[in-house]
């Protein structure tokens, strides 16, 4: 009796093992590929859903914002605060103010539009703040008339303006008594009409 391994005896189980091994690998690889392909579809669908959800959420937030800001925006746009400058309206406003105050002199000089900047003023990249300088020369009976002009402008037009400088000079010399019929003071002011515009990019 020899004690060697009888391959013939083990042939069938070994073949069975080899076939099982191959089949197992095939099953596992095919199953794994199937799962992976479905997983890829799942990830893509998840991403797509997430994207849709984000867009939807953004829209809902936009609608909330829309409700919140729509009224103010429409009002600003209507009055010309938002959009291109409205020089004619400004001049008409000045005329209206002086119709009431009846100042001896109220002249204006509008300069080309400039950008508006102030220390610490930061705005979004696509928001453009423009300012149109207007030199005002006003003869005044009393210094309070100057502020009455500014208040009149503010009351007549819903636009933004800011005063950069103002010089009030007494007319005549040595008279301590003020005239009630002619100008006693003259003023030169630099005011800026501010417009806000948005670049839709």
């Amino acid at each position: 009796m020899e004690n060697k391994i009888d391959i013939q005896f083990l042939k069938r189980p070994l073949i069975f093992f080899a076939i099982s091994l191959v089949l197992s690998l095939v099953f596992i690889v095919l199953g794994w590929q199937f799962q992976n392909s479905k997983n890829a579809e799942y990830i893509q669908a998840k991403s797509s859903l997430s994207s849709s959800h984000r867009v939807y959420k953004q829209l809902v937030e936009d609608l909330d914002l829309l409700d919140q800001y729509k009224k103010a925006y429409k009002e600003y746009k209507k009055t010309g605060l938002i959009g291109p400058e409205r020089r004619l309206s400004w001049i008409e406003t000045l005329e209206a103010v002086n119709d009431v105050l009846k100042l001896p002199r109220l002249t204006y000089a509008l300069q080309p539009q400039q950008e508006f900047s102030r220390p610490g003023l930061k705005v979004e990249r696509n928001i453009v703040i423009g300012s149109t300088p207007m030199d005002l020369t006003i003869d005044l009976l009393h210094e309070e008339d100057l502020f009455a002009v500014f208040e009149g402008i503010a009351g007549n037009i819903n636009n933004l303006f800011s005063i950069d400088s103002c010089r009030i000079t007494r007319m005549g010399k040595g008279d301590s008594v003020l005239s009630t019929k002619s100008a006693n003071l003259t003023s030169k002011c630099l005011m800026r009409w501010i417009t806000v515009d948005v670049q839709n990019k």
Binding site: M1, P13, F17, I28, G31, Y42, S117, L160
Partner: protein
């Protein structure tokens, strides 16, 4: 040679082979038909001897050496031998081991059968000794005596007597008996049992007065005569059982009534995996092959099962993913539908909502912090000047600038200015962090009579009052009625004073106040 095929308690087949050439050929054919099913060989031979020995309690090669020496002593010419450890004895500090040595004295008997097993590549799991296998049967008899003799007959010509002491086999004898079919069988059996008793007493295995329990398995034909004979004997504790009754008790399924008890022992040998007693390594070669084959098959099946399981898991997961994908697609459709519905609510299409928000916020910010008027500053300065009746303001200039030293308002970049200039100008305004209201005032003292000392004192009082008020960051007198600074030139006309004329005397002054603007809406 009897070949039995068992399926649990059921005997499927029992085939008898004569120990001649024809019988061997038939045995070969029978094994070939089994297709490498594993078998066990149960020996019931006369040429099997048992020796009980006591050796020092050892382990490892020392023990093996002692056992080998005893094998050489008792079974010199046999390679079929087995040592069964039965007990560890304690004698004071010394420990000893009781062993049952057994071996075949004529191993040539097995050779033709084993050759056929090898030729047919039949896996032989082991060669078992019948007396050792019958140890479990003895426990079933539940005898009250320490010594039990199991008497059985597997073939017509021989009677097997196996002796058990405290449940352990110590001896087994197979004696020829000729009276199975003719003669006084019962007397012959009793005589042989008495012979065994005498041997046990002579070997001092038991005491002469010890009662021996004798369990006899016989067929129905000899039952009555044996019972009659054993009832007459007062020395032994006999228990005679019909082998077929015992087979029923053991719940074995057999087709025919049995004359002999071989089926009992053969079934006993299949009941549990007994340790191999006699088979050598080379004789178990195909059993090892069989184990490898089984292992390979089990591994293959396990592999297939695992892979199929994994495949099922993968497919299950895949379908779960697919189901989730479908649900997500439906949800996405709902989102898109809602999106379309809500999107129609957006009325201003010329501007995005975020831009709208930014524009409105910018306007609010401008309104809150970046629109200026000189009114407040001018009123404040006017109130301070009003405290001094002799002072008259001829000119007042208010300037808004990012520098406290500025003389004019900050210039702004024109929209159509070239990029480089715009960048420079813009960077300046970005660098500037503060904003100041600057007021320059020019005036004169009323009713001035040429008393400069008084005039200067008045201006100093005015300066102090403004500084003490803490309303301004800078209060600076830029022109006094008379410049008496050591570093300046000073000229004048004092003739008027001698002539007592004061008409042309002037006491002009100018000053500058600065206040930082609080920018709250950054």
């Amino acid at each position: 040679m009897v070949a039995q095929e068992w399926d649990g308690r059921k005997l499927n087949s029992s085939v008898y082979f004569e120990p001649d050439e024809q019988g061997l050929d038939l045995f070969n054919a029978y094994l070939s038909s089994l297709k490498h099913a594993p078998v066990r060989l149960l020996l019931d031979l006369i040429e099997e001897e048992f020796r009980q020995i006591v050796i020092p309690f050892l382990r490892g090669p020392d023990r093996t050496g002692i056992i080998d020496r005893n094998f050489a002593k008792f079974f010199r010419n046999s390679s079929y031998r087995y040592a069964l450890s039965q007990a560890v004895l304690k004698k004071g500090r010394r420990k000893e081991e009781k062993l049952l040595l057994m071996g075949l004295t004529n191993q040539e008997l097995l050779k033709p059968w084993l050759n056929i097993l090898d030729e047919t590549k039949t896996p032989l799991s082991g060669i078992l000794s019948l007396p050792l296998v019958s140890e479990d049967l003895v426990a079933d008899f539940k005898s009250e005596n320490n010594c039990v003799i199991l008497v059985s007959q597997q073939v017509p010509s021989n009677l097997r007597q196996s002796v058990f002491l405290n449940g352990k086999p110590i001896l087994s004898r197979l004696v020829p008996i000729a009276s199975f079919y003719q003669g006084n069988y019962a007397s012959d059996v009793i005589r042989d049992i008495e012979g065994t008793q005498r041997y046990l007493v002579s070997q001092r295995i038991i005491d002469r007065n010890d009662t021996i329990s004798v369990q006899i398995l016989c067929n129905e034909r000899h039952l009555e005569s044996l019972k009659t004979k054993t009832d007459e004997d007062p020395v032994f504790d006999y228990n005679v059982q019909d082998v077929n009754d015992f087979i029923k008790i053991e719940k074995l399924e057999l087709n025919d009534e049995q004359d002999f008890s071989s089926v009992l022992f053969c079934h006993q040998a299949t009941k549990k995996p007994y340790a191999n007693h006699y088979a050598r390594h080379q004789e178990r070669k195909y059993f090892y092959h069989h184990l490898v084959s089984m292992g390979t098959k089990v591994t293959s099946v396990a592999l297939l099962a695992i892979s199929v399981g994994l495949l099922a898991v993968f497919i299950g997961k895949g379908f779960l993913y697919e189901s989730s994908v479908n649900e997500m697609k439906q949800l996405e459709q709902k989102y898109k539908l809602k999106f379309t519905q809500l999107n129609e609510l957006k009325i201003d299409e010329d501007i995005s909502t975020s831009n709208m928000k930014n524009v409105v916020q910018t306007v609010e910010k401008l309104k809150q912090s970046y629109l200026f008027s000189p009114q407040q500053m001018m009123a404040m300065v006017s109130q301070d000047i009003a405290l001094f009746n002799e002072m008259r303001v001829n000119s007042l200039e208010w300037v808004l600038a990012s520098s406290a030293n500025a003389t004019s308002a900050d210039s702004q970049v024109e929209k159509n200015m070239d990029t480089r200039s715009r960048r420079n100008r813009r960077s300046n305004s970005v660098i500037a962090k503060k904003l100041f209201e600057i007021v320059n005032i020019k005036g004169e003292l009323l009713n001035f009579d040429g008393d400069y000392r008084y005039a200067l004192s008045l201006i100093n009082d005015f300066e102090d009052t403004m500084k003490v008020s803490n309303k301004y960051d800078v209060v600076q007198i830029t022109e006094r009625p008379l410049n008496i600074d050591s570093n300046e030139r000073l000229s004048g006309d004092v003739s008027n004073k001698v002539n007592n004329k004061t008409d042309n005397k002037n006491a002009d002054f100018s000053f500058r106040v600065v206040r930082e603007v609080k920018l709250s809406g950054k």
